[in-house]
Amino acid sequence: MIQHDIADYRAPGRRWFSQVVWGLEEAFKKAKAADQAEDDTRTRMRIFILLALFATGFGCLALGASHSALFSGAGKPNGYLAPLGAARADLTDREGRLLAVDLIHFGVYVDPREIWDPAETQRVLGAALPGLQTARLDKALHSDRREYLLGGLTPEEKARIQDMGLPGVSFEEEEHRVYPLGTSAAHVIGFTDKGGTGLAGMELAFDEQIRRQAGQGPFATSIDLRVQAALDDELEKTAIKFGVNDAVGIVTNIHTGEVLGMSSWPNYDSNVPGQAAPYNLVNRAAASVYEPGSVFKVFSMAMALDSGSATMNSTYNVESLQLGNRTIHDFHAVHGAITLPEVFIHSSNIGTAKMALQAGAPTLTKYFKAFGLFTPAKIELSESARPILPRGANWTDGTVASTSFGQSISVSPLSLAQGMGGILNGGELIPLTLKKVDPANRPKGTRIVSEDTSRKMLDLMRLNVTAKEGSGGKADAPGLSVGGKTGTAQLVIDKKYSKDRVLASFAAVFPTDGPIDADRYFVLIMLKDPKRLPETFGFATAGWNAAPAAGRVIDRIAPFVGVRRAAPALAAATPIAVAAKPAGDEGSLAIEGDAQ
């Protein structure tokens, strides 16, 4: 017996080892014998089990391969291979019209080691890619590895180069942000860097969401492209006509806070922001602050009416106002005592200052703060600028008087839009937004004035357009019940208020009629330093430039936002503003007849 031979060793260690081996072998044999008699079949059976396992395993691999290749979704968004930059969701306006889109472009590479004829390659590539610097091409051709030459080639450009069949020239896909509208809405859309990171406008404001939503459908903004286009167009025409320094246009839905249009002039093309002058890149609607002038009287008057320090029937002597050694002047001299609506339509600085002084600094600052004038406008844009406020917490009479008609305080155009929207929408301050708001989920605002005050302010705005002495007459779009307030603020040049250079603004709301919760839109036009033209009879005041521009914008956008045009009024026996006067508001607007 072999096991005896193995066991026949003298060393105890070896004996132990041989016993273990013998035991193992015996156990194996015994177990095998006990398990089954038919060895042959069992071996086959077991090989068959292995075969079945492998068949199943490879079947699973086939399924896994199909899944990975067709349904995994890997590599499409945020992919390393397809795009070099991070993919971004499309930006659309509120009705799905394209504002910004990622398109596949191509980067071109050369590998000098694969090139047969460097001279020919250099000549042909140089001719085909005018944007390519000669030095760069030269350096790449003398490199010892594959080099990136140029990005952003369109499929046509790529095909043209590929058709030349140059060895060693290859392409890789890269995402490229394209703004099909060019200069339209450029400031509000903003732009990205080459790596696909938002740098300005909504591209920056919603950067994270836009990346996250890549590949999951477009990102809907509040912008209405038709409104934006009309606004851009009118603003540009007006800006050029009056030779302004810069201009701002804003259209908002005052019930939802949605910005439907936001325009800043001079503008730039979002596709090539690098080619624009730095001055043009600033979104003046959000990032600039202005001393707005008389449009601020909307805030002062709402404050006075809502706080109870004034009523529609309050009268003010506007002969003169002496504060210390400072005399407040009125543009349009009116003599004697006039009512509050008259103060509004004559845009009396003296009347407004007296009204504000009556209310007192604490009330004024409390209301201005509630109107959102002391903080940057609440909107997603990171450009939204901080206002420049008078120094000190306790305002002097002089400060109260100045701020009441929009001096000594600088706010962004968006702040004006936000505050006035709150006053005119029924009295709730609603943060502005560039995201599309679901009509069913209208945001709940913060109450800043009563519904009654809101109604009165709508009527006052309308009166300023319809009344003969009103400054907003040129904004009256037929049948749209436009209301608005002009503002012609002296520009500060060399630390002094200029005598002849102004910021002309028109803050409009339409329609002013209908119930308080009816759809209503706010339009702001601001022109910095408009020139005096013969056709404006040498005036640079807002009524001659900003107001007509606002009127034209309203006329054009009303059909887009769904505001119905009333039938043209028949030749009225009574003044138009009286006809527009809401029932049950006796006396408040009775001044037209008397004042004339």
């Binding site: 194996f28 292995l50 896994g64 290749a69």
Partner: protein, 389 residues
């Protein structure tokens, strides 16, 4: 019309003629196709791989792959011409040689990527453990078969001894991947040899314990398992790029030579050749590749099943398991179904040792499954043999 005589007539009694008519044509054909595909893919991936490493000749890897394929084919043909006795003899010498070289590795070996697995000579690096695998499987199959004969040979003990020696040398390198491969193949051979079921459970428990020990003993193994289990925050560069490449390939692929992954990912011409192929040639090609491997393994095991000699059964089954599991694991890693394990795709991945060893493995397997008098039972299939009776 005179018929062109076949190169090897059935009546041809020369060595080549006999070889041709007794070797399984399906297996031969599948291996030939795989080798040709490997060479073809190497022409697509080689320029990018060469550029990454900074080699001047873009077809450095492609040309070498052609040479390896020819050498591999020679190994395969040479191996397949052996008799079962010759197979045992060859396995014995290869095992001894490989073990000797592996023992010498710590002194004269070439270290790369954190392990000493390669032997460098004349510009080529050889991985002895690749050749040890098929030799070990043949030897343990022999020992199991001898052990069953009840002639006093302590087969099971010798088999375990051979296996333990190989594992010990592999873990010194350390090469956990090969350890797992030979463990699975060894287990399969033992299983086929007729190990009782309760032993199997015991061995599975031991294997589980061993895996756990490996997990705790080797940092890079633990890191890979962690990487697989937690997809965030860790660097999964290779596997992420592989997933993107496969998805980018879709059904029809980007087109030959159009793949981008190969320009960005290291080891693409070895461990991640599947992803490169899937990106350039699409799902259709991937399924063809998986199908070829499935056919190779199932056909091989089917042949093994029908053999009559226990040694030939166990050895050929073990060898096909060796090839099959390596293909399975490589593709599964590429598809991110299991943790990353550096492993080549048989016949397709770039690599001399892998190609030659695979040629040897398949050659030995083909030799064992050749039709010889008495090699196969008269009855075909399981049913007649009574498995389902």
């Amino acid at each position: 019309m005179t018929r062109q005589p076949h190169a090897f007539a059935r009546t041809d009694r020369t060595r080549a003629g006999v070889w041709w008519w007794t070797t399984d044509h399906v297996l031969l054909g599948v291996v030939a196709i795989l080798m040709i595909l490997g060479v073809m893919l190497s022409f697509a991936s080689s320029p990018a791989a060469a550029a990454r490493i900074g080699l001047g000749d873009p077809f450095h890897f492609a040309v070498r792959q052609c040479v390896f394929a020819v050498i591999g084919a020679c190994f395969l043909l040479g191996g397949s011409m052996l008799s079962p006795k010759g197979v045992r003899r060859a396995a014995f010498f290869i095992y001894i040689g490989a073990i000797a070289v592996m023992m010498a590795l710590p002194i004269m070996g070439h270290s790369a990527k954190g392990a000493t697995r390669w032997l460098e000579f004349g510009g080529f690096s050889l991985q002895p453990s690749e050749f040890m695998k098929p030799a070990l499987i043949v030897l343990v199959a022999w020992m199991f078969a001898e052990g069953q004969k009840n002639e006093g040979v302590p087969g099971v003990s010798i088999a375990f001894g051979l296996y333990a020696l190989a594992v010990a040398l592999l873990l010194v390198q350390p090469d956990v991947g090969q350890t797992i491969l030979i463990t699975i193949a060894f287990g399969a051979a033992f299983f086929v040899a007729g190990v009782p079921l309760r032993w199997i459970f015991g061995m599975l428990a031991t294997a589980a314990a061993g895996m756990t020990a490996i997990y705790f003993a080797f940092d890079h193994v633990a890191a890979r398992v962690h990487k697989f289990l937690s997809h965030d925050k860790v660097d999964t560069h290779q596997i992420d790029r592989a997933q993107e490449a496969i998805a980018a390939g879709g059904l029809f692929g980007r087109g030959p030579g159009e793949g981008l992954m190969k320009r960005h990912v290291p080891d693409l011409h070895t461990d991640f050749i599947y992803s490169v192929a899937a990106e350039e040639y699409g799902l259709i090609f991937s399924l063809l590749l998986i199908g070829l491997f499935a056919l190779l393994v199932t056909r091989g095991l089917y042949k093994a099943m029908k053999l009559s000699d226990p040694f030939e059964q166990i050895a050929s089954a073990g060898l096909f398991v060796l090839v099959g599991q390596q293909a399975f694991i490589n593709v599964a890693v590429n598809l991110n179904l299991i943790p990353t394990k550096g492993m080549t795709l048989p016949f397709i991945s770039y690599g001399g040792s892998s190609m030659m060893a695979m040629g040897l493995t398949l050659g030995l397997a083909l030799a064992l499954t050749r039709r010889r008098p008495g090699a196969y039972t008269a009855t075909e299939g399981l049913a007649r043999a009574g498995a389902y009776a």
